[in-house]
Symmetry: C2
Subunit: 291 residues, 2 copies
């Protein structure tokens, strides 16, 4: 059975075709330029697979995910130039006539990690996935469903207690200044230290500051959702940083609720090569097909 | 049809008998002393109603709500002296043999407000209920289910960005210092101002500080759960305080996501006389009966 996946990001679209066992047989990366150009290239790619049964799309946002909305399937008021008010699902339907699952990039990744956990025989009923990269976002799966009534989560924009050594940094979120994204996203390295994150050694104190904020985000999720697991992806995340996050989490939570061993509770993705969303898309496509 | 309700708090147990239309026909308040004495009085009260079909219990916590746990139905490691490791549901079952619904006090209130919203024809799929009193807690209903896999939410203990005029206050939570509960619970009036909250006029600047923190809690819930509505109960909450909360919420969220009119989104309970949990208990008892 052939299933399609589109992981739509601000710089590239990763398109893939795989099967119900989540094995990818074809993959193509398409640069994000204009909606017309990019979506035409996406449709041209999938036109090669006439046996495709269903498709999963995990898109950058904000997007409209409420099925009853006339704008369902749209990218809405995104800061990405040229992409606001784009009928993404409508454009794909011009070429592909089967069932389409539609959600956010981070929900797609969350679902992929949720599926992988089951495959590895972890007993998982709920999972939170954070991405910390150019932006910060999160998706939540609870008993196979995504959390969110009025829309998808936007947990990148919560506020946190400021680190005592970071009080003079104003944050870089254009909407909120020092919300979580404004304090920990990739571009904050340049803003704080005048150089990109890749040039900052992991011994730099800035990683203690990031860990302090990321740990608070994890505490918010923990105390609100009480999930089985919190997964962190995105360019800013590394295992050495997560070691610091776990230490801060332990100190700040003060064992107030039990979450199990921290190295299994706060983890990197199980999917290789940023593949969480592709696996999630296959699974969501299959679910939509069986709906 | 007779349904029972127990709202179990740290100072009193409110027991009631009502019907499937949420009308209360009998009510008794029992002081919280020792588990043996209080639960015996509760059982004696309900023994008067042999026709009782089901019971709902909304209890102070922390409590064990996972049905597969051997400690299901227990109050666990509570700071309330004498009540740790109390088999609450087991004690009630000694007298009452019908179905029993078991959840937290705030979940009970959340469910009551969720039911009332439906009765008033609001289209509600999800609702968050915060109590701000001696302690701070929250319950979440999402499509008729409570949120929480590893246990119930403990959203009173998240961290928030400190108000610039409140940086010297260390907070009073014995576990976390300046977590939300440590900054906004009722006893913080005494800690900050040396007098109880009832003696502090609503014009005092401390209410701007509380509003700043409560607004951040509401933003965390909003961006995580995207609920239809957030309800605030408990002794610290008043409509004038909520007016301040709405103003801070608007400024801090910066219209990042749409939530509708704020006076309908951030509200006091619809139930009269702190009756949210009792209504929730009737509804949960009925649901358990039909399970």
């Amino acid at each position: 059975m052939q299933l399609g996946s589109i992981e739509a990001g601000g710089t590239k679209f990763v398109c893939a075709v795989g099967d119900e066992n989540y094995h990818t047989q074809s993959r193509q990366v398409i640069p994000t330029t204009t909606p017309r150009e990019t979506l035409a290239a996406v449709n041209a790619y999938f036109a090669q697979f006439p046996a495709l049964k269903a498709m999963g799309i995990a898109s950058f946002g904000p997007i409209e995910i409420r099925r009853h909305s006339p704008k369902y399937g749209y990218i809405t008021n995104t800061p990405k130039p040229g992409w606001s008010n784009t009928d993404f699902v409508g454009a794909i339907r011009q070429q592909f006539k089967g069932p389409i699952a539609w959600t956010t990039d981070v929900n797609g990744s969350a679902y992929g990690e949720y599926v992988l956990a089951s495959l590895f025989n972890e007993k998982i009923a709920s999972l939170v996935y954070y991405t910390v990269g150019t932006g910060v976002g999160a998706g939540v799966v609870e008993n196979g469903q995504f959390l969110g009534t009025l829309g998808h989560p936007e947990m990148g924009h919560v506020y946190v207690k400021r680190h005592p050594d970071d009080l003079n940094f104003k944050g870089i979120c254009p909407f909120h200044g020092d919300c979580l994204e404004g304090l920990i996203s990739g571009p904050t390295f340049e803003a704080r230290l005048g150089k990109p994150g890749k040039d900052v050694p992991l011994t730099d104190h800035v990683f203690d500051i990031l860990a302090y904020y990321i740990a608070q985000a994890a505490i918010q999720s923990t105390l609100t959702i009480r999930p089985n697991k919190i997964v962190f992806g995105g360019g800013v995340i590394s295992e050495p940083l997560l070691v610091k996050v776990r230490a801060q989490f332990k100190q700040l939570l003060h064992d107030y609720v039990a979450v199990g061993p921290l190295d299994q509770y706060l983890t990197m993705p199980q999917a290789k090569d940023n593949g969480s969303a592709t696996i999630g898309n296959y699974a969501l496509a299959l679910k939509e097909y069986n709906r």
